[in-house]
Amino acid sequence: MRSDYAVVGKRIPKLDAPDKVTGRTVYADDLKLSGLLTAAIKRSPHPHARILSVDVSAAEALPGVYAVIHAGNVTQRPFGFGHDNTPLKDRVVRCVGDEVAAVAAVDAATAQRALDLISVDYELLPAVDDPFEALQPGAPRIHDELDIEGNVSMEWNFQTGDLAEAERRSAVIVSGSYSSPQAAPAPIETHVVIAGFDADGALEVISPVHMVFMYRKELADCLGLDWRRITVRQPPVGGSFGGKIDIDAHDFIAVMLARAARRPVKLAMSREEEFTGTRTRQPIHFQLRTGAAADGTLLFRHAEVVSDNGAYNAWGSHALLVAMNTVTSMYRVGTSRLNAKVVYTNKNYGGSVRGFGNPQATFAVEQQMEELADALGMDPMDLRLKNANRPGDVTPQGLEITSCGLSECLETVRRKSSWDQRRGRMRRQHRGLGAAAYVHVGGGARIYGSDGCGAMTKIDDSGRVALISGSSELGQGSETALAMIVAETLGVPLEAVSVSHDDTDVKPWDVGVHASRTTFVAGNAARMAAAKARDELLKGAAEVLDRPARSLTIRDGVISVPGEPTATLRYEKAVRRRLLREGSSIIMTSAFYDPPTQRQDENYVGNISASYGFGAHVVEVEVDPDTGMVRVLGLWAAHDVGRAINPMSCEGQIEGGAVMGVGLALSEELPVEDGRFPAPNLHDYGMPTAMDAPPIDVTLIETADELGPFGAKGIGEGGIILPPAAIANAVADAVGVRPRSYPIRPWKLRRWIETGERSHVDKRPQLVRDVNAR
């Protein structure tokens, strides 16, 4: 593999880091505009109720109030998948936090007082917060306006191969149920949106959303605006973890308020609203069976899945797309089947949170790999390696595996954790090792017609190279990676490159930041645009140096002719020579990259990503069986990143993801009581602290993907996928009981240890329990 790069592969601190750590970054909430009003939302306190009346007269009369809106005085159309949602709820509220009315006022105190003056009459309706209950005949109907059965919003059904035949051939079949909780992305920056119209009716929205072009279209569709006259500006994002991908009810509300008030408005979520009024990671319940031959060859996997959607279809309804990939395509499985129901409940609804269905699916699939290994009397690593995906494989869903370092990842963490010497041998100290591995899209994900991203480069007379990318920076480090790709491709110093990507009027189209796609897709677009700029540069230099352009090279900003030490030219000079003359021209190039992938067909078959990322973790835990407390002592991570454009930020992404995963595994949960989150704050929501983070050892496995920019593949989500599964496996190794739901909180684990329970899903009557080996 090439290693003589000038910039790529170097450890470069994130370019935005100095401003962020010194508090200079200006986030949306820091912006001050003249005449800016403060907006606030009146939310439903009930999980399910009919709205009988909304009286806003007292609020409207309050001095300092500029607009009060509710479903009765605005024009809005439904939004969301299946158009099951409206910004302001009209007839019915379906979860606590549902938006019923909103105000814009001179300041926050007045806005709050106005909210208090709005009176809403509700007729309470029976609510259901458990998807299994919601499926029962006679359960409350959550969307009686939709033509659906049993609160099932969507079904995802996939089948390949002859399941009965695979079962017959299996020497061992393990089965069990595995559940995950409602969790939150909980970024430091809460959602903020600023909206204002100019005198001509053109709309500008300032928001840390990261699918800006889709956002613009959805605003227009729902509110009847001309989307050519909407500009979305994206200030620096204070973290998203997927939470800011989606357009949400409050985005429309801010625009409607700006329209009604004829003034710009700012709507900023409080921390409590961030938990109750913005999207979460939805719980998914798996009943899984895996069968294998006596030699460990996997023969089938069969999942029956219930996804607890919450009240409406946001992105979370589509997490099954990713969960399905894991069930059918993690390891060579062959025969596989998945039947999933996405079920409405009267709760906050699921969005797209980092990992997007994969932590939940991997928790089931990878625990079952270790259960299967135990039943077969095999080492779980041997079982994994035997069935590992390999380059050239095509999975049952049509995923074409090209670069694939899965085996190397597994072997690395096995060696580094001293797995062979220690797994299964530390029971006396209540210590254990557990492993897990993943497959995740690593080269975009074709969910829309296009999975493309545009890029433009220009070089000005100072030699400054501007990359204008369609993508967005969320803190994940893409800006730095893109700058490095441009610097490497052009052969100029990194300091000369700037990246802008914050304005839909300026930047070329992009799907948005999701699916770990930015370095791959936006990186390829940047590389292509920069390569064109390089050609232009060398063309200009060729005239000056009087040599053919193809004989020239450029590195560190110096254009030279190999073998002729005196024939050199600084690249800035080449730019100026073209510019400062009659008949001048500048260097300005563009490119659009759409990966060579397919949208899944109606049977969910299609190669949706241009490459796939793989990784493996081993986790070591120590359990205190008498209190149920789990301490994570160490985490070894190996990830196939294709090529680490910036190893420092690859490690950062993996470590940050792993710590988030430890939180999912052990402490993060939004328990629901009577349809409410009783504790929507960061003190009670169990995000891990530095004290909960284990020492993490990261190995980057470089497989140089054929299509990735310089061989890179996506790594934004990989780190978070594995800890729930690996920690559950480690706990099983330490104390001999298998956690079948997470978070593995102390009281749950202690009860499992005491009762020796092997299946731990409460209230799931139709799910089969117990491991049954034949």
């Binding site: 060696r415 580094k416 954790s417 001293s418 220690r422 081993v618 070591e620 120590e622 205190d624 008498d626 209190t627 149920g628 407390m629 301490r631 002592l633 160490g634 070894w636 052990l666 402490s667 328990p671 009783p678 504790a679 003190h683 009670d684 169990g686 995000m687 891990p688 602290t689 530095a690 004290m691 909960d692 020492p695 050892d697 990261v698 190995t699 909180r745 102390p746 009281w747 202690r750 009860r751």
Partner: protein, 311 residues
């Protein structure tokens, strides 16, 4: 707008409180600011900041006696070398309270007067038999800390009274310990917090218990002392069997609720587990057998390193 006073003496503070009915005492503000924001306390009530009062400050030893000013910060308690050795339970409770930033602001008086069932410092003060000094318009009165908190968010302080200090004695051959169970390992309120204190008749493994106290936090509306320990422990070293009886007594003393930090059943069980562990560590300290510094937060001996390979 809120009026804000910063008196320089306790008597001035008492006078300001008397002149401003409804005024609230603020120390570090780590509870009160949140309560005011959430509307659990009146956000417009006048504030009387007691951190400027010299006589309320400091961690001071006078022979056997420890004098803790009401505004002594949790970090000052955590880092006092004699507190760590002689009243270890206080140091062990202090070092798990909140985060470094919180501990630098939070005060002992605030922790006691906020009267949370899970307040970290209360069980250690109770097992050390601490006495609180309370100043009001009628002068100063003293009250056992065990009697100061009367229920969730209520104390015996009348409006207009302030806590000025807390005092306790740490005699030779005594030792204490505070342990807790949490969901995460820092920045979490106790699911269960247990303090134990032991006075022995000598040193060494066979040292007999003369007096012992165990107090439980987060398992009842207020922290509670486990009754009947003398008869279970006095006159002998804490054998496994005796510790088992302590566990049972501790579990029996709980009246827990279920919430996001634990089920009632689990809290009852863990109170017993941690009581035995804390008591045995306190005994080891009293009997001169302990050399380990502060105990692991859940009292379970554990090497927090792993024998895997690291880059």
């Amino acid at each position: 707008m809120t009026s804000y006073y910063r008196p320089g003496s306790a008597s001035e503070a008492v006078a300001i409180l008397a002149a401003n009915p409804g005024a609230m005492v603020i120390a570090g503000g780590t509870d009160l600011v949140i309560d005011r924001r959430l509307g659990r306390a009146d956000p417009r009530a006048p504030l009387v900041d007691v951190t400027g009062i010299n006589e309320l400050r400091g961690v001071r030893w006078d022979g056997d006696e420890l004098h803790l000013g009401a505004t002594a910060t949790i970090s000052a308690i955590e880092s006092d070398p004699a507190v760590i050795v002689r009243t270890s339970a206080l140091a062990e409770a202090a070092r798990v309270l909140g985060s470094v930033q919180i501990r630098n602001m939070a005060t002992l008086g605030g922790n006691l007067c906020t009267a949370s069932p899970a307040a970290e410092m209360v069980p250690p003060l109770m097992v050390h038999d601490a006495v609180a000094a309370i100043r009001g318009p009628a002068g100063e009165r003293r009250q056992a800390v065990a009697d100061v908190v009367t229920g969730p968010r209520t104390t015996i302080l009348a409006s207009g009274e302030i806590l000025t200090n807390v005092r306790l004695r740490a005699p030779a051959l005594s030792g204490s310990c505070y342990l807790r169970q949490t969901v995460r390992w820092a920045m979490d309120l106790a699911g269960v917090g247990v303090a134990a204190w032991v006075l022995t008749d000598g040193t060494g493994r066979e040292a007999a218990v003369q007096e012992a106290r165990v107090a439980l936090g987060a398992v009842a509306p207020t922290a509670v002392l486990v009754p009947g320990l003398e008869s279970l422990l006095a006159g002998a070293p804490p054998t496994t069997e005796r510790l088992g009886a302590v566990s049972a007594a501790a579990s029996a003393a709980c009246e827990p609720i279920s919430d996001t930090r634990g089920t009632a059943e689990h809290r009852r069980h863990v109170a017993g587990v941690l009581a035995a562990r804390a008591l045995s560590i306190a005994h080891a300290r009293a009997a001169g057998l302990w050399s380990g510094g502060l105990a692991p937060v859940n009292g379970r001996a554990s090497a927090v390193t792993s024998s895997g390979e690291r880059a």
